[in-house]
Each structure stands twice: as structure tokens, then as C-alpha cells.
């Protein structure tokens, strides 16, 4: 796809603020013109009034210059403000769209794509695109108009002198492009070194105790020193390239100045130019070379922005959705769950579930057990419609769940996961997940039922205590209890427990089991477990092996069968007998 096509996609975001952008361009032109007028008016002042000793006229023209300065000042401030406001608003809109788009993507997308990459899309890439407007397009437009007006004015004042003075310009432009490119490459390398340095530090500091105990300090130090040395050398090279560039432009600008003085002087002596011309030319040459000094910076910002734009575009093109039906069914849900000849694979030709038939009727507790990797969690994923089966159906109350809106059917379910995810916020926020319909009484009742109320009340601010990111300041078991309370306040008809007690030690286990019992009362529960003690009293136990249901039955029946379940159950204690 061509760059223009990428740009096209983002045009609607920009046209929303077209008035703001139009005004910033107008003010940009106003400020450029008034800045260009100053040397021209200075010339008039010298030639028309100072040379003719006309003080009155000099005062008049000074007032004009004063007005130009004032206009320049005000228009510049307005232009900067408006350009940035437009840019920031566009970015805010874009971020909103990106975040909403991200939330709608299927769960599969998140297990495939590294989270760092997704985060970069919503944050840094948008930031880069902002540069496209403020530092890229508008700045380049500004530079171009300065160049155009400067050249225009000098040719207007004295075409012959202008033609001579402008001679070093092509060389300067060439240098700006060539050296600029080299410089940009070097700075890119410098940034790479910084990234490497940060990764190194992050690693070392996270594993510092191991490094000390295993005696790997020297090696770590050497690795870091090598990177730091590369940084030092490359950075020096990059800095020197930028200095060469700057000095090259400086010498060429001096050359132009000298050309103005000598040729302008010669012309003045001959009477075809004036001192005022020389003064004006000196001012214009300075402005001519100004934009060249950071031309390459601006180009690299533009390139950066365009590459971010492409990434954003393909992120927005991501179509991995679980779609809703056109005519969704809405009805009261009791909570009967059925899997009907379900086949599913994450990766083609490598089936995860093969012909699964499973039933959990209203108010019943079923369990799914099996080795790690047997496909147990996948079943929960299908019931929640995080994925759709390759063939077969998942039914709730006898209706294929694809006939409901996903959010509708999910609103009757709750899930508790092995690794409880704690959101940034208070304990209360983590129980309600921001649902304002849930009252404080409901929260407390749920917490009491689960047996976590006393723990919460012991926290510094009770339910209003901020939990550190990722739940660092509370234990695994306490997190788990909070997630039970979360599931309870949502009053689900169907409860999915995915290895909810796996990471809990024996001590906490009893409290948790009590909480679990309360949680499951009166609802359809589907318990995925490898800790078999929690599921002994299930109404039906399904044993999954290599994607298939190997056997099913109650605890007693399965033990009698002396097959896989029996093996699983006694394995832990084989040492004893």
C-alpha cells in the first residue's frame, strides 16, 4: 500500500478538526510573512529615511516594523497553540478508538501477540503520529514558506545579487540530506544501545541475588560494559556527524554573507544596490540557512510517524473478532450448559479438543480433570465464547451460544482463574470491576460469605485500600478469595473455576474450600482442577486426556473403574505405598 493510502484512512480524524487546522495554517503564514517583512522594512528604513536624513519617516517605518513584530509574536503563539491542540485532540480520539478496538479483539489475539507490542500501538505509536502533525507537516510547511518568502524577497529586492548569494545553497541542501541521513542512522544505533542497556539492567537487577550467589557478577559487568562502550563510541560518532553538518552549513552561510558584502558592496559602489539592500540580504541569508540545520531531524520524525501510521493501520485492520449474530436471541437463562460433539484446535491440524460431549444442568456441579495440556481450560474458553468451536456446538439452555450476543450470554457467567488478575484500584473496585449497580451491602455480604471480610477490614482503609498493581501487597490466597467475592457479587447462573485452587497452599486451602462451597451454591458450576480433593463431591467428573473425554462418572464410580482417574488420584501418594 502506498503512503497516501495509509494517510487516507486517518483523514476522517483530521477533518473533524479542519477549522482548527485551517486556522493554524493561516496563522503560520501570517507569522512567516510578518517575520519576512522585518528585514525588508529595515532596508526601506535605511535607504529611504536614514540615508535621506528623514527622522519623521524613520519613526513611521519603525512603527510599521513594531506592528510586524507584534503580529509575528501573537500569530506565532496562536499558531503553536492551535496546531498542538488539533494534534492532541486527534490523538485522544485515535487512542480511544484503538483501546476500544483492542478490547473487542478475540482472546486468541492476546495470546498470540506480545503485550508489549499492543501497548506500543496504543501509546507510543500514537505519540509518533502526533509528531507528524506538529513537528512534521506544520514545521516543514513553516520551513518551506520561510525558504520561499526569503528567496522571493531577495529576488524582488535585487535579482542579480540574489542569484549570486544563493549559489552556496544547493551545496548546503546536499550536505543536509547526505550528512543528515548518516547522522540519523547513527542516532538510531545510539537508541538501540540505550534499549539494550535498559534490557541488560532490568535483567541483572531482577536476578541480582542469583548472579551474586552463582558468582556471575564479572560476566554481567562485562556484558554491560561492552554495551556502554558501544554506546559511548557510537554516540561520539553521531555527535560529531551532527557537528560536521552544522559547521558545513555555517561555513556556507558565512560564504553567502561574504558574497553579500563583496558583491552587494561592489553593486552599491556602482549605484545598482544600496546599503539597505546589504542589510536586508544579510538578514535573509540567515533565515535561508536556518531550516537546513535541522532538516534531517524533521525528515526522520516524518519517517518515524509514517512507520507508526502503518503499524496503527494494520492494527486497526486486525479482524480477529468473535462476531455477534444479526438477530440475537434474548431470553431468561437458567444455566444448562451442553457441549455437543465439539472439535477445536488453536493451531490447524493440531486438535486440542476432539468430539467433546458434556453436560452441566442447572444447579449441578461438574468437574473436568486431566493432565496439564489435556485441553481442560479450552473448554472454559469455549463456554465463555472466547473462541468458537471448529465444529459441534456449545449450547446454553438448549440454544447455540452463537445465537446470543456475546456480552448478553457472558453476563450470566463468571470465571475464577488460577492466576488472579488484580486491577489497579481499590479492593472494592476489584470486587465490583467498576459496576456501580453493585451496592456496598452486596459487596460486604459477598465478602462475608466467602470469608474474606475480616481480612479486608484489617487492611489500612478496608474496602477502599488501594491494591498495588498486580496485587503485589496481598497474598495469593487472599487474591483468590477476592476473586471469589467478585464472582459472587455478579450472581452468575454459570460459574467457571479454572484451576482456581491450584496455587494455594494447604493452610489457606481450607478457608478457600469453604468459600468455594458458598460460591457454588445454587448455580451451575464447572470446575477445572488438578487438585482432586476439591471435586470429590461433584455430580459428574469428566476426565480429559489428549483432547478426548477418557472417562466420566462420580468420584466413587471412577475410583472403582481403576482407570485414568484412579491413577491420577493415587499418583501423588505412590511413594507411601
Amino acid at each position: 500500500m502506498k503512503n497516501s493510502n495509509y494517510i487516507k484512512r486517518f483523514i476522517p480524524y483530521i477533518t473533524k478538526y479542519k477549522l482548527l487546522i485551517a486556522f493554524s495554517v493561516i496563522f503560520l503564514l501570517v507569522s512567516t510573512i510578518s517575520s519576512m517583512l522585518i528585514p525588508f522594512l529595515s532596508k526601506q528604513a535605511i535607504d529611504k529615511f536614514i540615508s535621506t536624513k528623514n527622522i519623521q519617516g524613520l519613526i513611521h517605518i519603525s512603527i510599521l516594523i513594531g506592528i510586524a513584530i507584534g503580529v509575528l509574536f501573537i500569530s506565532k503563539i496562536i499558531q503553536i497553540y492551535m496546531t498542538n491542540l488539533a494534534g492532541q485532540r486527534i490523538m485522544k480520539d485515535l487512542r480511544h478508538i484503538l483501546f476500544a478496538h483492542m478490547e473487542n479483539l478475540a482472546v486468541g489475539f492476546f495470546s498470540r501477540e506480545p503485550s508489549g507490542k499492543i501497548i506500543t500501538r496504543v501509546t507510543n505509536d500514537v505519540e509518533n503520529m502526533n509528531q507528524l502533525l506538529s513537528s512534521g507537516i506544520v514545521a516543514l510547511l513553516g520551513d518551506l514558506s520561510i525558504l520561499a518568502f526569503s528567496i522571493g524577497f531577495i529576488f524582488y529586492i535585487n535579482p542579480r545579487l540574489a542569484a549570486i548569494v544563493i549559489l552556496p545553497m544547493p551545496v548546503a541542501i546536499l550536505a543536509a540530506i547526505l550528512l543528515g541521513e548518516k547522522m540519523e542512522r547513527l542516532y538510531e544505533k545510539v537508541r538501540d544501545f540505550v534499549v539494550k542497556m535498559n534490557i541488560r539492567m532490568q535483567e541483572t537487577l531482577s536476578g541480582i541475588i542469583l548472579i551474586q550467589i552463582f558468582g556471575a557478577e564479572k560476566r554481567e559487568s562485562d556484558k554491560f560494559t561492552e554495551i556502554a562502550y558501544g554506546y559511548r563510541k557510537t554516540f561520539h560518532k553521531a555527535q560529531m556527524t551532527s557537528i560536521i553538518l552544522r559547521q558545513t552549513i555555517n561555513i556556507l552561510s558565512y560564504t553567502s554573507i561574504v558574497l553579500v558584502i563583496i558583491f552587494g558592496g561592489l553593486m552599491t559602489i556602482k549605484g545598482i544596490a544600496t546599503i539597505g539592500t546589504i542589510v536586508a540580504f544579510l538578514a535573509y541569508t540567515q533565515r535561508l540557512y536556518g531550516p537546513l540545520r535541522d532538516l534531517s531531524d524533521k525528515f526522520s520524525i516524518l519517517q518515524n510517524a509514517i512507520s507508526s501510521m502503518k503499524k496503527l493501520s494494520s492494527f486497526l485492520d486486525e479482524k480477529e473478532f468473535i462476531s455477534d449474530p444479526e438477530n440475537p436471541i434474548e431470553k431468561d437463562i437458567k444455566g444448562d450448559v451442553r457441549l455437543n460433539h465439539v472439535y477445536f484446535s488453536y493451531v490447524k491440524n493440531s486438535p486440542t479438543l476432539i468430539d467433546i460431549n458434556l453436560e452441566a444442568s442447572h444447579g449441578k456441579k461438574i468437574a473436568i480433570v486431566g493432565f496439564t495440556g489435556a485441553g481442560k481450560s479450552t473448554i472454559a474458553n469455549l463456554i465463555l465464547r472466547f473462541y468458537d468451536p471448529d465444529s459441534g456446538t456449545v449450547e446454553i439452555d438448549g440454544t447455540d451460544i452463537r445465537k446470543f450476543k456475546k456480552r448478553f450470554i457472558r453476563s450470566f457467567m463468571a470465571i475464577v482463574l488460577q492466576n488472579v488478575f488484580i486491577f489497579k484500584g481499590t479492593v472494592k473496585d476489584n470486587i465490583t470491576l467498576g459496576n456501580e449497580k453493585i451496592t456496598d451491602e452486596e459487596i460486604i455480604r459477598a465478602a462475608k460469605k466467602i470469608g474474606v471480610h475480616d481480612f479486608i477490614m484489617r487492611l489500612p482503609k478496608g474496602y477502599e485500600t488501594e491494591i498495588a498493581t498486580e496485587g503485589a501487597n496481598i497474598s495469593q490466597g487472599e487474591r483468590q478469595l477476592i476473586s471469589f467475592a467478585r464472582a459472587l457479587v455478579y450472581k452468575p447462573k454459570i460459574l467457571l473455576l479454572d484451576e482456581a485452587t491450584a496455587a494455594v497452599d494447604t493452610n489457606t486451602e481450607e478457608i478457600i474450600e469453604k468459600g468455594l462451597k458458598k460460591l457454588m451454591e445454587g448455580r451451575t458450576s464447572i470446575v477445572i482442577a488438578h487438585r482432586l480433593s476439591t471435586i470429590k463431591n461433584a455430580d459428574m467428573i469428566y476426565v480429559i486426556n489428549k483432547g478426548r473425554i477418557a472417562e466420566k462418572g462420580t468420584h466413587k464410580e471412577l475410583l472403582k473403574n481403576k482407570k485414568l482417574y484412579y491413577e491420577l488420584y493415587t499418583m501423588q501418594f505412590s511413594q507411601i505405598n
Partner: protein, 577 residues
């Protein structure tokens, strides 16, 4: 400050050449307008020869300036980057010496920022501050003197607006930095919001809370716009205001200077020279402000850098260290050990007594929070135990050289940390010169060999944060292999099997026991798993920091205490019904 001063002392030979070059450049820069004045006056006198002569002077001086600028920039930047490099590596090496408690008090991000951001502040001050300072002293003052010689009255008039640049640059620099930090903080919060939406996506979707988290994101998104616009409102004033003040100076020049020319009190050449001086005078004025604000930032950063460089590692050899101890055999004696974490006031260990013979295997069990991990960490001196409480081979651990202590103990921490590197490098962490066969042997004992060999790159597969994702159990097994390969006489395993499934657990325990026996290694293993505890020579039960039971596994079983109940419980789960 020591680091910086010693650096300056070492590089003292470079000061004089740099200063000389800067002086030369600054004076030359002041001379150029003098020749411009002479050239313009030559024009008014219609003297072509003089005009060309002064033109050539200007270009020659300009070339000289450029060459010297290149030279001093080369040296100065090389020196500063060398210092920067030394600061970075000294900081990093300091971190490598610090104890665990230090990293608990400090955020890793903050420690990293000292290596990257704070050194940058110092670097910027040393380059910009130094050049700025020299320019202020030389360029600013000499320019003003030259102007004053040409026309005292005009130079005072023209300087008035320029003097306002000093407080402007000073205040703006400071505030902009502050606002910029606010913007970065909000940006960080925004990243947190995106990250948590990604990590918690299953919960968000299952509880249909997409809109709420979008709303939370939008709040930060809006705040980000507001903070950015606050910065723009300030930052956007800076450039126009600088332009305005310089232009104000020019208008004064034209009006006042023009009148003086009309009155024949100065020449037209002086007027032109002044117009050039305004450009050269503006920079040192701004530099005063910038330099001061850079200096303030650099001082704060240097303070943060020095805080690290001057802090002494709390756990290190001292005058008690007995350097005659070269190796350890493996007798561990613990004598009435009490311990409180430096930050806490609760006693975690309350009078522990233990005795382990060389080659003996000790199992420690007990509920979460009973002090098992702490005990192992004290043996390793990850924290310092109280005096005369822990002895290895009869030497108090506090007197054993830290290197000797740590090079003789192998360790797997509770949380198995893998570095972003190959599996092989991770296994060989403690013995770089180990052969691939030894790594395979260790992997075999840890029952991870097959898994590794099934990976596409086998032992060269990159793992860790940036590499492929391994399960908790797989990581634990690599951590076990990492300890085993060191063949150290003492090994401490902290709950090494918690995430390993039951059948693999049995395999590992058997192999590990054979390996430890064969090599006569003293080992302490903490575990909740009865299968691991039954094969130990002795078992200690820790509860709330005290040993409540201790003895051979059989003896403990007969006692009918915690161990018996743990055993019964885990066994009953297997045999019941």
C-alpha cells in the same frame, strides 16, 4: 562527587587547549562584525580594494572558527562521554554488590533511571553548560565591549530587551522541565491502563466490563491531553518571546541607530555591525538561563548518582572476615537463631536450632509464612543473621569471606528466575566453563532434558522475558539444573517442586536424591510435598518461626504431630473411599 573530581583531575591536561580554543573562537566571532563595519564603511567611501580585502578577511576568520569549533567539540564530547561511560559502569558495578534489602527499598526503574536519565543530565550540563558558560563569559562580555566601543549609547539601548532573555530562559527552562515530567507521569499511567486491560482481558470480557475499562482509559487519555496542553501553553510562549525580544532590539537599533546616523554620530557601517552583534549577544543571554537550569538539574542528578556510588553494601566482607577460610565441606549448625527483617518489627524466626552433617539431607516443611525461605536466605547471607547463630564447618557465616560462602552453596529460589538468554547459558550461570554434557546431565536429573530437546533450538533456545514462555514447572526444573551443575558441597532448594506436576515430581526427587548422595552434598530442601519429605534424612517442621517437630521422617510420623497430619491428609486424599 569523588568520581567526578577524580575524573577532572585525571583529564586536567585537556582543560587548557579547550579553553584556548574557545577563547579564540569567541574573539574571532566578535571580530567579524568589525570587518563588516569596515567593509560597509569602505562601500560608503567607494573603496573597492578595501571592500574585497575585508570580505576575504571575514571568510578566512570564519573558516578558522569552524575548524576550531570542530576540534574542541571533538575533544570535549569525547571527554564527557568517557566520564558518562565511567559513571554508567560504576553505577552498574555498584548495583552488583548491593544486597537484597537494598533492592526492596528501591524501584528497579528508578535505579535504571540513574544510569540513563541522570547521567544524561550530567552530560548535558557538562557540554552545554560548559560551552554556555564560556560563551557567556567571553562572547557575551566581549561583544558588549565591542559594541560599547563603537557606540556606548546605542549599545545600552539595544541591550535592554536582550537582558530580559536571562530571566525568561531561566524560568521557562525550569517550569517546562516540571510540566514535562507531569506529562511523562500521566503517560506512564496510561501505559498501566493498557497493560492491565491486556493482562486482564479474559476477566474483562467474562464479566462484560469493556465499557468501564474504556472509561478508565478515557479519563487518563483526557488527562494526558490536558497535561500536554499545559506544557504547550508554556513551551509555545518561549520561542515567540525570544524572537520578540530580539526583534525589539532590532527595532531600537533602527530607530535609535538611524537617528544617530542621521545626526552623523555613528557611521552606517556601525549600524550594520550592530545588527550582527544583536544575533551574537542574544545567545549568551539565553545561555545564562539555560545553564543555570541545566546546572540545577545536573546537581540533582549528580546527587542521585552519588547516593548510589557512596552507599556501602550492607552485606560484604569486613574486618571480621577470616580470609583463611578457602572452602567449605558442608556441616551446618544453627544456634538459637532469631531474625527480624530490617524493615519489619515482627520476629520471623524465634530461636532456631539445627544441625546438619556433611552429606546429610534435611527437609523443612511448615505452613506458608512460617519462615522457611528466610532461614535459607540467612544461611546464604542474603540477609545478615545475628552474630554467633549460623556456622558452617564450625566457622560463623559472618566471618566466612562472602565469595567463599556463595561459591560453595548452590541455590534455587522459590521464584525461579530465568535470564533472557539461552537455556544453556541459564543452566551454566554458576559454572561458565561447564561442558554441554554436564548441562545435559544436570537437565536429565531435573527431568527437563526431554522438554529442552523437543524445542526447535534445543539448548540454544532463548528463554526469559524476551524469549519463549515456559511453564512455572519447566522454569523450576531449569533452576534445579542450574544449581546441580555447580556441584557445590552445599545446596539449598526453596520449594523447588511447587509448580511441577506429581509424576514428574517423583522422578525428580528420586534422581536428585541419588545425585546428592553420590556427590556427598549437604542439602536443605523446603517443601509442602510429603513425597519429597519422606526421603530426607531428617525433617524439621517450622511453624511461626519455631521448630515444632524435628527428627527422622519415621520418627515424626510416630509422633502424631504436624508432620503426621500432613502425611495423613495427603495420604487420605489418595486412599479414602
Amino acid at each position: 562527587m569523588k568520581t567526578i573530581f577524580s575524573f577532572f583531575k585525571r583529564e586536567i591536561k585537556w582543560y587548557i587547549p579547550i579553553m584556548l580554543m574557545l577563547t579564540l573562537v569567541d574573539f574571532s566571532q566578535v571580530i567579524i562584525p568589525v570587518f563588516t563595519k569596515k567593509a560597509v564603511d569602505a562601500i560608503t567611501k567607494k573603496n573597492t580594494a578595501l571592500l574585497v580585502k575585508y570580505g576575504i578577511y571575514i571568510i578566512v576568520i570564519a573558516s578558522g572558527i569552524i575548524a576550531i569549533r570542530y576540534a574542541y567539540n571533538y575533544i570535549l564530547r569525547k571527554l564527557v562521554l568517557k566520564l558518562d561511560f565511567e559513571l554508567k559502569t560504576s553505577l552498574f558495578n555498584k548495583y552488583l554488590e548491593m544486597h537484597k534489602g537494598y533492592f526492596e527499598k528501591q524501584e528497579i526503574g528508578d535505579l535504571m533511571a540513574r544510569v540513563t536519565n541522570d547521567t544524561r543530565a550530567v552530560r548535558m550540563f557538562l557540554i552545554m553548560g560548559f560551552l554556555g558558560g564560556m560563551d557567556i563569559a567571553l562572547l557575551g562580555i566581549t561583544t558588549f565591549i565591542m559594541m560599547f566601543i563603537m557606540s556606548p549609547m546605542l549599545s545600552i539601548y539595544v541591550a535592554i530587551p536582550l537582558i530580559l532573555l536571562i530571566p525568561l530562559a531561566l524560568n521557562f527552562g525550569h517550569k517546562i522541565h516540571k510540566y514535562f515530567k507531569n506529562v511523562q507521569t500521566i503517560f506512564g499511567e496510561m501505559t498501566v491502563r493498557v497493560r492491565e486491560a491486556i493482562s486482564g482481558i479474559r476477566v474483562i470480557k467474562a464479566f462484560t466490563r469493556e465499557n468501564f475499562y474504556l472509561k478508565l482509559f478515557d479519563n487518563v487519555n483526557r488527562q494526558y491531553l490536558q497535561e500536554n496542553m499545559k506544557l504547550v501553553r508554556l513551551d509555545g510562549f518561549l520561542d515567540p518571546t525570544i524572537d520578540f525580544l530580539i526583534n525589539a532590539s532590532i527595532i531600537i537599533l533602527i530607530l535609535k541607530g538611524g537617528i544617530l546616523v542621521i545626526q552623523n554620530r555613528i557611521s552606517l557601517g556601525t549600524l550594520v555591525a550592530f545588527s550582527q552583534y544583536i544575533g551574537t549577544l542574544a545567545w549568551p543571554m539565553m545561555a545564562i538561563g539555560f545553564t543555570i537550569s541545566l546546572m540545577q538539574r545536573a546537581r540533582a542528578s549528580l546527587g542521585r548518582i552519588n547516593a548510589v556510588l557512596e552507599s556501602e553494601p550492607e552485606i560484604a566482607d569486613n574486618n571480621l572476615t577470616n580470609y583463611n577460610i578457602k572452602s567449605l565441606k558442608g556441616n551446618i549448625t544453627i544456634n538459637n537463631l532469631h531474625f527480624k527483617y530490617p524493615a519489619g518489627d515482627v520476629e520471623v524466626l524465634k530461636g532456631i536450632n539445627l544441625f546438619v552433617n556433611p552429606g546429610e539431607l534435611l527437609g523443612i516443611t511448615g505452613p506458608t509464612g512460617s519462615g522457611k525461605t528466610t532461614l535459607l536466605e540467612l544461611i546464604l547471607r542474603i540477609y545478615n543473621p545475628q552474630e554467633k547463630s549460623i556456622f558452617i564447618d564450625g566457622h560463623e557465616v559472618l566471618k566466612i569471606p562472602l565469595k567463599v560462602l556463595r561459591r560453595n552453596i548452590g541455590y534455587t529460589p522459590q521464584e525461579p528466575f530465568l535470564f533472557t538468554d539461552t537455556i544453556l547459558a541459564n543452566i551454566k550461570l554458576g559454572r561458565e566453563n561447564a561442558t554441554i554434557e554436564e548441562a545435559e546431565e544436570a537437565a536429565e536429573i531435573a527431568a527437563i532434558k526431554k522438554t529442552i530437546e523437543s524445542l526447535p533450538d534445543k539448548y540454544n533456545t532463548i528463554v526469559g522475558e524476551k524469549g519463549i514462555t515456559l511453564s512455572g514447572g519447566e522454569r523450576q526444573r531449569i533452576a534445579i539444573a542450574r544449581a546441580i551443575i555447580t556441584k557445590r558441597p552445599i545446596m539449598l532448594f526453596d520449594d523447588p517442586l511447587s509448580a511441577v506436576d506429581t509424576d514428574t515430581e517423583n522422578t525428580i526427587i528420586k534422581r536428585l536424591r541419588n545425585y546428592l548422595r553420590k556427590n556427598n552434598i549437604t542439602a536443605i530442601i523446603t517443601s509442602q510435598r510429603i513425597s519429597a519429605l519422606t526421603i530426607m534424612d531428617q525433617v524439621a517442621v517450622l511453624s511461626s518461626g519455631k521448630i515444632i517437630e524435628q527428627g527422622k521422617p519415621d520418627e515424626l510420623f510416630d509422633k502424631g504431630g504436624y508432620y503426621y497430619h500432613l502425611y495423613r491428609k495427603q495420604m487420605l486424599e489418595g486412599i479414602e473411599t
